[in-house]
C-alpha cells in the first residue's frame, strides 16, 4: 500500500476517533438541560465528561495537523474553503469551553441561562458544521484548476452536506444519551432513557436516508456498502438497546454507528480527498495533494510510536474514571465496581 493511502487511513481514523469520543461530549452538552432539571442535576450531567472532553478534543487537532503534514494541498483547500464554517466551529469551541467554567460562577438566573445556551448551541453547531464540511468533500465544491475554492459561504450549504451534518448531529445526540445512561443513576439515567427513544428513531431515519443519498452522490454501485449497512444496523441496535438496561452495549452500538458513518464518508471519498463540482479533472486526490515520500515515512514512524501510546494512556484515563456518578440527592461518591467502563 502506498504511503498516501496509509495516511489517508490514519487521517480517517483521527476523524473517526474525534467523532466517537467528542461525539458523546457534544451529545451530553446538548442534552444536559433535558436530563437535568435542577442546577445540581445539570452539573452532574456535565461532570460525566469532566475528566475527558479536553483530551477528546485533541483528536480534532491531530486530524487537522495530520492533514497539514500528510496532505498539505487538502488541508489548504479545505480549511480556506470552509472559512466561515470553521470560524463558527472555533467560536463554538471557545464558547463551550468557557461555558464549562462560567456557568456556576454566579447565582444570577439569567447568567446561568446564558451559559447553558452557550453550551447547548456550541455543542450543536460543531458536529453540524463539521458534518456539512465532510459531506461537502464527497458532494463536491466549486474548486478550480489551481485547487482553489471559488465559491462563498452559501455554496457550502449543499443539500447533501446539510443532510450529512444533521445525520451526525442526530448520532451525537443518541451517543450522548447512551453515554449518560452509562454514567449516571436514577432520575438522570431515566431521563436519558426517555429522550433516547425519539433520538433513536431520528438517528435511524437520518442514517438510512444518508446511506441512500450517499449511494447516488458517491457513484459506484447502487447497493449499500458493508460499512454503510453496519452504520444502519448499529444505529438500530443503539436505539433498541438504549431502551433496555444494557447500557454498555447500547453505548458501544452508538459508537459503532458514528464510526461507521464517518468511516464510509472516507471510504466513498477515496482516492479523492475533495471533489470539485467544477470539473472532475480538478479533484484533489491522495496523490496530488500529498507530501513527499520522505515526509510521509517520517510521519508514519512517529505515528507508529506515539499513536499506540496515546491509545493506552487515554484508555487508562477512561478506566480510572469508569464508575457511575450518583445523583446529587443520594450520595457524593461513585459506587466502585459498577459495570460501566466506556471503551476508549
Amino acid at each position: 500500500m502506498h504511503l498516501h493511502t496509509v495516511w489517508f487511513v490514519i487521517v480517517s481514523i483521527f476523524w473517526i476517533g474525534f467523532f466517537v469520543l467528542e461525539g458523546f461530549d457534544f451529545g451530553v452538552g446538548m442534552l444536559h438541560t433535558i436530563v437535568g432539571r435542577t442546577d445540581d442535576e445539570r452539573k452532574l450531567a456535565l461532570s460525566t465528561i469532566g475528566p475527558w472532553w479536553d483530551g477528546n478534543e485533541v483528536w480534532l487537532i491531530v486530524a487537522g495537523a495530520g492533514m497539514f503534514a500528510a496532505f498539505p494541498g487538502w488541508y489548504a483547500t479545505m480549511f480556506s474553503a470552509l472559512y466561515l464554517a470553521l470560524l463558527l466551529v472555533l467560536v463554538s469551541l471557545m464558547a463551550r469551553g468557557v461555558a464549562f467554567e462560567f456557568k456556576d460562577k454566579s447565582e444570577d438566573l439569567r447568567w446561568r441561562a446564558t451559559w447553558r445556551w452557550a453550551m447547548t448551541i456550541g455543542c450543536l453547531l460543531i458536529p453540524l458544521l463539521l458534518g456539512i464540511g465532510l459531506g461537502d468533500l464527497l458532494n463536491g465544491l466549486p474548486i478550480n484548476s489551481s485547487h482553489e475554492f471559488t465559491g462563498n459561504f452559501f455554496d457550502l450549504l449543499t443539500p447533501y452536506g446539510l443532510w450529512t451534518g444533521l445525520t451526525l448531529l442526530a448520532l451525537c445526540l443518541l451517543h450522548g444519551a447512551t453515554f449518560l445512561k452509562l454514567r449516571t443513576t436514577d432520575l438522570v439515567r431515566e431521563r436519558a432513557r426517555a429522550v433516547a427513544r425519539p433520538l433513536g428513531w431520528a438517528a435511524i431515519a437520518f442514517v438510512v436516508g444518508w446511506v441512500v443519498w450517499t449511494r447516488s452522490v458517491a457513484g459506484g454501485p447502487d447497493v449499500p456498502q458493508p460499512v454503510e449497512i453496519l452504520a444502519v444496523l448499529a444505529a438500530i441496535f443503539a436505539a433498541r438497546l438504549a431502551m433496555t438496561d444494557h447500557d454498555g452495549p447500547a453505548f458501544a452500538s452508538s459508537a459503532v454507528a458514528i464510526a461507521a458513518t464517518i468511516g464510509s464518508v472516507f471510504i466513498d471519498l477515496y482516492p479523492n480527498v475533495m471533489v470539485s463540482s467544477t470539473s472532475a479533472a480538478y479533484n484533489l486526490t491522495v496523490n496530488n495533494s500529498a507530501s513527499g515520500n520522505y515526509a510521509l515515512t517520517v510521519m508514519t514512524v512517529v505515528a507508529v510510536i506515539f499513536f499506540p501510546l496515546v491509545l493506552i494512556y487515554q484508555g487508562w484515563s477512561f478506566h480510572v474514571f469508569r464508575g457511575r456518578l450518583k445523583s446529587p440527592a443520594q450520595a457524593d461518591r461513585p459506587v466502585a465496581g459498577q459495570p460501566a467502563a466506556p471503551p476508549a
Binding site: 479536553d54 485533541v58 487537532i61 503534514a69 498539505p72 469551541l93 480510572v320 457524593d332
Partner: protein, 469 residues
C-alpha cells in the same frame, strides 16, 4: 489589503496565545515541584504544601484552558488564512505540528484530566507522575512548534522539488537547526521566568496581607530559586541567539540595532530619538563602544554589515524589492526585552540575598517590587516574538517565500474582517474573564478544604477547576 488583514489577525491571535503559553509551561513545572515537595515531605508541613499545590494548580488550569482554545485557532489559521503558505511548505512545516499533537497535546490534556480529578482516585505516586507528565507535555509541545518556527527563520533539511516546493529530506536537521536549539532554550527559560514571576507576585501579595504566611513564604522562596538561574542563563542564551540570527538573518539584527551603515567595531546605542525606516540618522543617546560587536558577533571588534548594504545584496540575490523590516519595531522590541530582563535579574539577585538572610517574607519593598514585576514577563515575551517575526519580514520563510504571496487566494477581505472582529471580541471577553477568575481565586486564598475536587460531588464543589473542566 487582504494580506495585511491576515497578518493583523495572525499577529493578534498569536501574541494573545503566547500570553498564556509561557505561564502554562512555567507554572506546570513549578506546580510539579511543589507537589514533589509535598510528596517527599508529608510528615512536616505536608497539608500546607498540598494546599498551595492545589491553589497554583487551579491558576494553571485557567491558563491551560485559554492556551488550548487559542492554540486551536492558530492551527486552523494556517489553513484558513494562509492556504498558499500551507500548500507550499506543508511537506516540511506540517510534520512538527502533527508530531506536536500526537506526542505532546494528547499527553498534556489526558494527564491534566487525570491530575485534576485524580486527587482521591490515584495512588499518590501515580498522581504525582501525572503532573510531571503535564509539565513534560507542555515543554514538548513548545519544542515541536519552535522547530517549525525556526524552519521559517532558517530553512534546513529540505530540497526543492520539481514544482519548486521545499520537500523534507532530513528530519534531524529540523531539530538540530541552531536557530531552533537556541530559540527553544530561550523560550523554555522565558517560560520559567514567567511562571516564577507569576508565582512570586501572588506569594508577595499574600505575604503583604499576612495571609497564610508560612505557605506563601515557601512558594516565594521556590519562585526566587527558579527565577534566579533562569534569568541569569537567559541573558547568556538571548545573547547567543542574537549571534545565531546575525549569522542566518543579518537583516534582523542590523534592523534591531538600526545599523544602516557598515561598522567595525560597532557601538551599541542605549536609546535613540527618532529613527525608523525613513530616518537613518536618529539622535543616538549613550553610545557604548564595542558592545554591538560583542552582542552580534561574539568578538570585541566584530564587523556588522549595515542595512543599506544588506538591502543591495538581497536585491542582487532575490530581485527588486524592499528587504528591510520595520526598523522601529526591531530596535525597541530588542531594547524592551534586554532592559526589562536586566531589571528582573536584579530583582532575582535581591530576592536571593533576602532568601539567604531569611527575611524575604518581611521585606516590604521587595514584595512591592515583585508584585509590580508580574507585568514584565508578558511584555518581554511579546517583544521577543515581535523581534523574531517582524525581523523576518518581508519573508514568511526566509529566502523561500514572501509573506505577500502566502495568504489564501480564495478568502476575501470581508471574510477576514468578520473573523478578525469575532476573534478580537472573544479574546477581549476571555481575557477579562481570565483576569477576573485569576483575581477571584488569588483573592480567595488557600482552600481550607482538604478534599480534592471530585467529579462525583458536583453539588459540593467549590474550587471546581477552571474553564476546561
Amino acid at each position: 489589503m487582504t494580506n495585511d488583514l491576515a497578518r493583523w489577525q495572525f499577529a493578534t491571535t498569536s501574541i494573545y496565545h503566547f500570553l498564556f503559553v509561557p505561564v502554562t509551561i512555567g507554572l506546570a513545572f513549578l506546580v510539579a515541584l511543589l507537589q514533589t515537595a509535598w510528596y517527599r515531605n508529608q510528615g512536616v508541613g505536608g497539608p500546607e504544601l498540598k494546599r498551595v499545590t492545589r491553589f497554583f494548580g487551579t491558576l494553571l488550569l485557567i491558563n491551560v484552558a485559554i492556551g488550548v482554545v487559542t492554540g486551536l485557532v492558530q492551527e486552523f489559521e494556517f489553513g484558513m488564512n494562509w492556504s498558499a503558505y500551507s500548500r507550499f511548505v506543508g511537506d516540511v512545516f506540517g510534520g512538527p505540528l502533527a508530531m506536536e499533537g500526537l506526542a505532546a497535546f494528547f499527553l498534556e490534556s489526558t494527564f491534566l484530566g487525570l491530575w485534576i480529578f485524580g486527587w482521591d482516585r490515584l495512588p499518590k505516586r501515580v498522581h504525582l507522575a501525572c503532573i510531571w507528565l503535564v509539565a513534560g507535555g507542555a515543554m514538548l509541545s513548545a519544542m515541536f512548534i519552535l522547530a517549525a518556527n525556526s524552519w521559517m527563520q532558517h530553512p534546513v533539511g529540505y530540497v526543492l522539488n520539481r514544482h519548486g516546493q521545499p520537500e523534507l529530506n532530513n528530519v534531524w536537521a529540523l531539530f538540530t537547526n541552531p536557530t531552533f536549539l537556541w530559540g527553544y532554550v530561550h523560550v523554555i527559560l522565558a517560560s520559567l521566568v514567567t511562571g516564577s514571576l507569576v508565582m512570586l507576585a501572588i506569594s508577595a501579595w499574600y505575604l503583604r496581607k499576612q495571609h497564610e504566611t508560612q505557605a506563601f513564604h515557601r512558594t516565594a522562596v521556590l519562585s526566587v530559586l527558579v527565577l534566579l538561574p533562569a534569568i541569569m542563563v537567559q541573558m547568556f542564551v538571548g545573547n547567543k541567539l542574537g549571534e545565531i540570527e546575525n549569522t542566518y538573518q543579518p537583516v534582523k539584527i542590523a534592523a534591531a540595532e538600526a545599523q544602516w551603515e557598515n561598522c567595525q567595531p560597532c557601538s551599541f546605542s542605549a536609546f535613540q530619538i527618532g529613527g525608523g525606516n525613513n530616518d537613518q540618522t536618529p539622535t543616538q543617546v549613550i553610545l557604548i563602544p564595542h558592545l554591538l560587536s560583542i552582542l552580534a558577533t561574539g568578538t570585541w571588534s566584530g564587523a556588522v554589515i549595515g542595512l543599506n548594504q544588506l538591502q543591495k545584496e538581497d536585491v542582487a540575490k532575490y530581485g527588486p524589492g524592499n528587504y528591510i523590516p520595520d526598523v522601529f519595531i526591531q530596535y525597541w522590541s530588542m531594547r524592551v526585552m534586554a532592559y526589562l530582563g536586566s531589571l528582573i535579574a536584579l530583582l532575582a539577585l535581591w530576592g536571593a540575598w533576602l532568601v539567604h538572610r531569611g527575611t524575604l517574607d518581611r521585606s516590604k519593598w521587595f514584595l512591592r517590587a515583585s508584585l509590580a514585576a508580574v507585568v514584565t514577563p508578558f511584555v518581554m515575551n511579546t517583544a521577543g516574538w515581535l523581534l523574531t517575526e517582524n525581523g523576518r519580514q518581508p519573508w514568511i520563510v526566509q529566502g523561500l517565500m514572501k509573506t505577500i504571496n502566502a495568504n489564501s487566494p480564495s478568502v476575501t477581505s470581508t471574510d477576514i474582517w468578520i473573523s478578525l472582529i469575532a476573534f478580537v471580541g472573544i479574546y477581549v471577553a476571555l481575557g477579562a474573564a481570565d483576569l477576573i477568575l485569576m483575581l477571584r481565586y488569588a483573592r480567595k486564598g488557600l482552600d481550607p478544604d482538604e478534599g480534592g475536587p471530585d467529579e462525583s460531588s458536583p453539588g459540593t464543589q467549590t474550587a471546581t477547576p477552571a474553564l476546561s473542566y
